[in-house]
Structures are given as C-alpha cells and as structure tokens.
C-alpha cells in the first residue's frame, strides 16, 4: 500500500517545492511543515486515498501559483507511471557515464540536485542536452554555500522504505526502541568523555530494559542459557587478551597501592625514628647537665672533709641515684618490660649488667673443695659415662716429635 502511493506523493511534493526558486525556500518552510504533518498523519492511519487528497490539493494550489514547469499530473496516476519514472531514472543512471552524481558533497552538488529535481519533471530526453550549461549557470549563482533540506522529499523517501514499527506490530519484528528523552540533553559537554559515554550507555540500558520486558511479554527468549555455546563475535584469543589486560591492570593497581602504603609507612617510620633520636639526645643532655651540677656541688661542699677515694665513691652513688630517678625509662632491666627471664639474668650477672666481674672465674675455697662434678668411675674406666674417645697416643717429647715430622 505504501509502495503504491509513494512515488506519486514524491513527485507531487517535489513539484510543490522545486518550482520555487532556491532563495524562497526558507520563506516557504511553514507550508512545507504543514505538508509534513499531514504526511505523518497519513502514516498513522495508512489509508492512502483520503490522506493524499489534501496534500495533492495543496500541491496543486502551489502549482497554480508558481509557474508550473511540468505538465500537471493527474491525481489518478497509477502505480505503473510511478514505476515507469523510476525505471527511466535508473536507465538514465546507467547511460550517463559521468560520475557527477556520485561526487562528494562539494559546492556544485546542490546545483546538481536542483538540476535533477527539475529534470525529473521536464523530460527524460532533455537531460543529456541541458546538463552542462545549466550546471555552469547554477554553479555561478550558488557560490555562497547553501544547503539543501528538502523535507518533503526526505519524508517521501522514508515512506517508500519504512518498516512498520508501530505498537500494533510485535516488538520482536523490529526490536528497535526509541528513547524517551533526547540523549543530547544529558550531555553537558561533548568533550567530556566519561559523561558522554555514560549518557549513551544509559540510553542503551533503558532500551535493553524496555526490550526485555516487551520480549518477555511476547514470549521471545531473551537470556542465553548457560549451556548454550556458539561462536562469538570476538574471538577467544581477543577475549583472553582482554582478560590478561584486566588482570594486569588490577595487579598493577594493587602493587602501586601497596607501594604507596609502604612509602607512607616508611615516611611515618622515619618520623618516629627522628623523634626517638631527638628524645635520646635530650635525655643525654639532661644527664650531662646533672653530672656537671653534681660535680659543682661536690667541689663546693665535700672537698675539704672527706678523703679523695671516699669522695669518689659517694659521687658515684650520687650519680647513680640521679640517673635512676631521672631516666627510669631508660633502665632496661626493670623498666616497662619487667624482669628479664632467668637465663638472661644469669647471663647478665656473668657477662655484664651488675656485679663485679673481676675474679669471677677463678677458684676460691668453696669451689676448689667442691667435687660435685667428679666421678671416680668415669676416671677409672677412662670415660665410661662420657663420650668414648678413641685411643690417642701419648704426646712425645719435642725432639722426637720433630724427628717424626721430618720423616713424614
């Protein structure tokens, strides 16, 4: 049905607009709009006869106003005529070897189109003759770039090819969704990649949701079952690469985060260290001050009364007391850590930290009388309980040892 009416309307609409000179097109646009609206109505109800009449009347009216170039076509021009026109058009295309129509959108293209528009009405035979002169003439007049927006022709062309996507048609037939709001509204700046892509995605997401509900209503399978395997658009290799890239990205992100953490920690650790050092230096300074103070005191008070050695001892005790009172934190043995374990204590007594070390290892009366470690049995058996030693030759005298060494 649509096909039948399409060529006819196309030709009429063209007449309506093409007879106007180019410059007047803008002024005449309201009329074109009206036409356009009526056309739209027509698609809605799809009854060709009633709807075409007003448009054709309008077209006729215009024709009478403007000097009509073409002979007036009858309203009852049938399908064959339209078809014929197209055949001719195609034939002309085949004949004309020139590439002019296929050329890109340069300035002389609109002139071309004007040509063609008129030619369609005039005659097919005139085409080849009048082509060149017309072209030059119009090219001269259209130096200033004027663009074409022949809405009627566009709509006619649309009508010729349009698929029915109205709500009466099952959605699965076309599967196209038109968004409710223009996407451009959601985009503030076209250069903002993230926002732009988000807007596009939202448009598609909305469409997907709507499509899913519609398709489910119609009972069309939407979700792919998990056990349905088939060739995919992107190959497995590509997907592997994609996956590898994702993993790499994630791992690098993680690594960088960790590195940052470490760096921060280091920075913080350094701060702590510096603080500690400062504290230590401060304490050292304090103790030194105290010592010097004590020295002063001693020089003032006690130099006359006591002997030199006694005074020294007193001084040491005084220093110890001072230090103990001042630097309780610094004492390792009984500080915040509590008493060290028994082993440590023993070792401390033996090797340092408390007590006199002199003559510690030498025997005295009690140790020499102590025979706890002596075993007569072991002595007799030659190491019965202890580890058995292999027989060892007694050490010879020096001369004989030397002689032996020389022999060897």
């Amino acid at each position: 049905m649509a096909k039948k009416t399409a060529p006819r309307i196309a030709s009429k609409d063209k007449k309506a607009t093409d007879t106007k000179p180019k410059k007047q097109q803008k002024a005449a646009e309201p009329a074109v709009e009206k036409l356009f609206e009526e056309n739209e109505d027509e698609w809605e109800d799809e009854s060709d006869g009633e709807a075409t009449k007003p448009t054709s009347k309008k077209a006729k009216g215009k024709k009478s106003k403007k000097a009509a170039i073409a002979p007036v076509e009858d309203e009852s021009s049938d399908e064959s005529e339209g078809g014929h026109g197209f055949d001719l058009d195609l034939a002309r295309l085949d004949e004309s070897d020139s590439d002019s129509e296929m050329e890109d959108a340069d300035g002389n293209e609109d002139s071309e189109s004007e040509d063609d528009d008129e030619e369609e009405e005039i005659d097919v035979d005139d085409l080849s003759i009048g082509n060149s002169s017309d072209e030059e003439e119009i090219a001269a007049t259209t130096r200033v770039r004027e663009t074409i927006n022949n809405k009627d022709a566009l709509l006619a062309a649309l009508k010729r090819i349009q698929l029915d996507t109205s709500s009466s048609v099952p959605f699965a037939y076309h599967q196209s969704v038109i968004s409710v709001t223009p996407t451009a509204d959601a985009i503030t700046s076209i250069d903002d990649d993230l926002a732009r892509e988000l807007a596009f995605m939202n448009q598609s997401l909305e469409a997907a949701r709507r499509a899913r509900t519609l398709l489910r209503k119609e009972g069309v399978p939407f979700t792919r079952p998990t056990d349905y395997f088939a060739e995919t658009v992107r190959s497995d290799e590509t997907m592997d690469k994609v996956k590898a890239k994702l993993i790499e990205e994630a791992s690098s992100k993680k690594a960088s985060a960790e590195a940052r953490k470490l760096r921060d920690l280091k920075k913080f650790g350094k701060q702590v260290q510096v603080a500690k050092q400062q504290e230590r230096a401060k304490q050292k300074r304090e103790t030194l001050e105290k010592i010097s103070e004590l020295k002063k005191k001693r020089k003032e008070g006690a130099s006359s009364a006591l002997g030199a050695t006694e005074a020294d001892d007193i001084f040491d005790v005084a220093v110890d007391n001072e230090l103990k009172s001042a630097g309780k934190k610094r004492s390792f043995s009984a500080g915040e850590h509590g008493n060290p374990n028994a082993k440590r204590q023993k070792k401390d007594t033996k090797y340092g930290f408390g007590g006199k070390k002199k003559h510690l290892k030498s025997n005295d009366a009690t140790s020499s009388a102590d025979i706890g470690g002596f075993s007569a049995k072991r002595m007799k058996s030659g190491g019965g309980a202890g580890p058995k030693k292999p027989f060892k030759a007694p050490r010879l005298g020096k001369a004989r040892r030397k002689a032996g060494a020389g022999k060897r």
């Binding site: 129509e101 189109s113 658009v233």
Partner: protein, 314 residues
C-alpha cells in the same frame, strides 16, 4: 481438483493462522540483505571495522574491495547480483578518511556519512562479547524522530543493523544492544553486551516499571537486572548528504555543519604557515624600522652628514 482444494485450504489455513497470530499474520516479512564492501585504499582500521560489522550482521554479504572511485552506480548492479537490497559501502579517501555510504538499493535513498573515531572490537578496553548472529536491540535516540533526515537515517540503520526476524544464521537470543545517539550534530554508534546480573538496590525503579507495563511481564526470573558492557566497535558518523536514488539521484539533504576533513587539514596547515608568516613579517618590519632610523647592522648610527670617520677616511 486436488490442487484447487489444496490452494483453498492453504489460503484458509493461512487466514486462520493470521488471525491466530494477530498482527504478525498481516505483516510482510522483513527481508533485508546487506552488501558490505569497501573501496580500495582502506586502512587496516577501516578494514577491521568492516569485518566487525560484517560479523555482527548475519544477513550481510561481504564482498571484495570495489575498484572504482567514480562509477558508484555499479554498486547497484553488484547488489542486485548478490540479491541484496541494502549496501553499506566504505569509501576511503587519501588513505585516511573514511566515508560510509548506506543505501537502499533499487531506488534509494542513499546516505553518505563521514566516519571518525573508529574503535574496533580488537581493542582491549572493550570487555564485552556476544554471540555471532544474535539479533540486537536497536536503541535510537529520541532526536531521531525530530528531523526528517534523521528519520531517514534511522530507517536505514533499522534495516541494516537490525537483523531481520528469522534471518539465516541468526540465533534465538538477545544479548546485545546497538545504541545510536545524536549529539553535536553527529551520530554516535555504540554496541553493548547485555548482561543479566543479580538485582541490586534499584529495585523500586524496576518495580515501578513493571507496574507501568502491567503485571503480565512477571513471567521469567524477575530477580535479575540488566547491565551493559561495551563490545565495540564504536564510531561517530557525520551525515553529509542524502540522495534520493541509490548512489545517484537528486540530493535531498545536505548537512551545512559538515566540514570536510580536507578543509580541516588545510586550515591547520594554513594556521601553521600563518604563524611563520607573521614572524617573517615582524622581522621585515623591524628591519625597515631600523633602516629608517638609520641604524646599521652592527648597531652604529649612520649619520647623513658624511662626517663619519669611516666615510671620511674610506
């Protein structure tokens, strides 16, 4: 007699079928076949884009590179040869610019667009994937309904990118959406995979939707929501012209906002040359000024009296 009966019963059956199926019976079958081909001189990126699109269109027919720049009407014959009623032609110019032609073959219209910002499926920042030959949901911007030329373009996209129902090699599920949006006078094409995910907090919205649509849509697992992951390719199209015929005929739309890439490049070059020209001009002016002030090259002043030592004792 038998044949007559057969035809009668068949027609009757058809009718009843049509009645049963409701609107579907009266519908003409959507038959589309797309000839996909490029001109010579395409870059690898253009070629990959073409391959991607061909992979997505089970009703497409890929052909060898078309070896003619001027005789584009030959494409009509070619399409006829392959029983195609749509042509998607990639025209490369200067080994860098890509123009895409979309045409309905026997008698138009034809849309010519300039393609920019091509990203193919090979690229790794797209993480989605979908089955080959599934029918996409075509998501059109509302702007496509506002202008006649956009309406035409939308219709062409619907024919070419929409896989017709029951097309050969098409698969029965829907797992991707193709988005066409209009922004900045350009058409942005995106392709997303539809993933069904566990529903998160946006439950109220979905519920509102379901109440709007009626309670019948409750069948199937309602506890999933869809999310999108981009598959690619992605590209941006700038409409240039629409011709009434197929690769020919009068031009019925021309985009005044389109600036040819050649123009852009030449402007850039000119701007660059302009910088040099300005500098050269300044230099010349400076020299002139100095000469008028009587300043020599070595910076000494040349007085007009002729009493300069050099002139005196030369």
């Amino acid at each position: 007699m038998a044949s007559v009966y057969k035809t009668l019963s068949k027609s009757k059956g058809d009718q009843s079928d049509g009645e049963k199926e409701g609107a579907n019976g009266g519908l003409k079958r959507n038959k589309q076949r797309v000839l996909i081909l490029s001109s010579r001189g395409v870059t690898y990126r253009h070629r990959h884009l073409l391959n991607d699109l061909a992979a997505m269109l089970p009703h497409g027919r890929k052909d060898v590179k078309f070896d003619s720049k001027s005789k584009m009407y030959q494409l009509n014959e070619l399409a006829e040869l392959y029983n195609c009623n749509n042509v998607m032609f990639f025209e490369a110019r200067k080994g860098k610019d890509l123009y895409m032609w979309f045409s309905k073959v026997p008698n138009g219209p034809t849309v010519k667009m300039h393609a920019q910002n091509l990203h193919t499926m090979e690229e790794l920042h797209f993480t989605g994937n979908c089955l080959k030959g599934t029918r996409p949901v075509l998501s059109f911007d509302a702007a496509f309904e506002q202008e006649p030329h956009l309406k035409v373009i939308k219709e062409l996209f619907l024919h070419m990118f929409g896989v017709p129902q029951g097309a050969r090699k098409s698969k029965p599920f829907i797992d991707h959406v193709m988005g066409f949006s209009v922004a900045d006078g350009k058409i942005w094409v995106r392709n997303y995979e539809v993933r069904e995910v566990e529903k998160v907090k946006g439950e109220d919205k979905e519920e509102a939707e379901s109440t709007n649509k009626g309670k019948k849509s409750k069948l199937g697992d309602k506890d999933t929501d869809v999310s999108l992951v981009e598959i690619g390719p992605r590209f941006v199209l700038t409409p240039i012209v629409i011709q009434e015929g197929s690769f020919g005929g009068p031009i019925i739309y021309e985009n005044k906002r389109f600036v040819s890439p050649n123009q852009v490049r030449s402007d850039l070059r000119k701007a660059k040359a302009g910088r040099h020209n300005v500098r050269a001009e300044q230099k010349r002016e400076g020299l002139g000024k100095r000469a008028s002030l009587g300043l020599l090259k070595n910076g000494e002043k040349k007085d007009g009296t002729g009493l300069d030592t050099r002139e005196l004792f030369a």
